[in-house]
Symmetry: C2
Subunit: 214 residues, 2 copies
DNA sequence: CCGCGATGTATCGGACCGATACATCGCACG
DNA sequence: CGTGCGATGTATCGGTCCGATACATCGCGG
């Protein structure tokens, strides 16, 4: 549960950050899922995670080699870093990945951290998600088939659009699943993303081990 | 604000209903938007609307001709119906349709009640939504373009999928807008339903949609 | 020198969900 | 004949998350 908790724990494994930064990273990483993370949930969550001992607050180093702020009471950004317990917690959240993980945002955030997820779990999540979407798809087909006359044209159009999105997502998931089963390529198939980035390094292959500290 | 408030007010204009029924209709109508409406939000909202005077509670006829359950305190279904103030409120919510209306669920629920919305407002909402989606699309393109190397392959794939969905939705909206401007056919494109229709939104437009669905 | 946009931390009220509890009814299956 | 089970039905509680809002600093161009 708790999309934010999961995402924060995941992001802080890469490097310590302060709130504002965290929000930007979160927004970049989850842009396809969530519009923008609100401070109204970010800060309370940070405090919760801190209380649980999964992250710690590390006051920013005053000034590297510069003049000390003197008069103006130094504001200090609050930098958070993950603890050993936090890493454990994150690993546990991944391992447990259950049905909650199959709804839109739950799936999205887990997928965004697939690079830190072992292959078996990735497969489980992808298949669970597919099943869920298939169910939604069937529901929409039912409504469009059986209840069509009770609904107005706009409502029907909305359903049709939703149905289309479901079918498309199922196809996407199929490809990802096939891809995951054989081969290990993380990207769907084709797609010559101009830049030609190889990015061979990291999606942690089955091996799975930690390597922190950039 | 308040998707549920809007949807309940809209549904109750068609006929009075009790909670369970309302949930089913809500789920059918908003199936493309929301998985299923939770009672944990439905009942409190009903009470709120009642307190505001927008709906009233009309106890179900006790027992047709039967003996009253005596011992077992009969648990009647609670039927809600909309009031004049409620209709006014609904009309006001439609007329005010502002920026809140352009996020996913806000747009969805307004669209679902387009049959009760005047054409000018429909157009305004569709265009606002389009702009919003275009912004999201640009954000995703930015990330895919500029920040690509900082992100792992899975995250990128997620963004790509999201970008695709944005592009698709923009196209869908374009069609709806064009359709709305000229002609007045409520369904998207194909199938020349060219039949001249009266303008003026239809308060309760009978299911005069296309139902050619073998 | 002033404003203004980016950076930065923080709170409050409210919307909505998921789990849970409990009660009735009809009917299929043994 | 009973018995359990799935659909119908109302309701609450704790918790996540959002949107609006407030405030303070910094660098920059006008």
């Amino acid at each position: 549960m708790a999309v934010l908790e999961f995402a924060i724990l995941g992001l802080l494994q890469e490097s310590p950050m302060h709130g504002y930064e965290l929000r930007k990273e979160l927004t970049a990483k989850l842009g396809a899922i969530r519009a923008a993370i609100s401070y109204g949930s970010l800060y309370p969550t940070l405090r919760r995670l801190q209380a649980a001992g999964w992250i710690t607050e590390a006051a920013e180093a005053p000034v590297t080699a510069e003049e000390v702020p003197a008069l103006t009471s130094r504001r200090g950004r609050v930098v958070y870093k993950i603890t050993a317990e936090g890493k454990e917690r994150f690993a546990q959240l991944i391992a447990q990945a259950g049905p909650e993980t199959y709804d839109d945002t739950g799936f999205g955030v887990h997928f965004a951290f697939f690079a830190r997820t072992d292959q078996a779990t990735r497969l489980r999540i992808l298949e669970g998600r597919r099943r869920k979407i298939e169910e939604r798809r069937e529901g929409l087909r039912d409504v469009l088939g059986r209840a069509a006359e009770r609904l107005d044209a706009y409502t029907l159009e909305l359903q049709r659009h939703g149905l289309d999105a479901c079918e498309r997502e199922v196809r996407w998931l199929e490809e990802l699943i096939a891809n995951e089963r054989s081969g290990r390529a993380p990207t769907v198939p084709q797609l010559g993303t101009a830049g030609g980035r190889r990015e061979d390094n990291s999606p942690p292959p089955p091996g799975e081990s930690r390597k922190e500290r950039p």
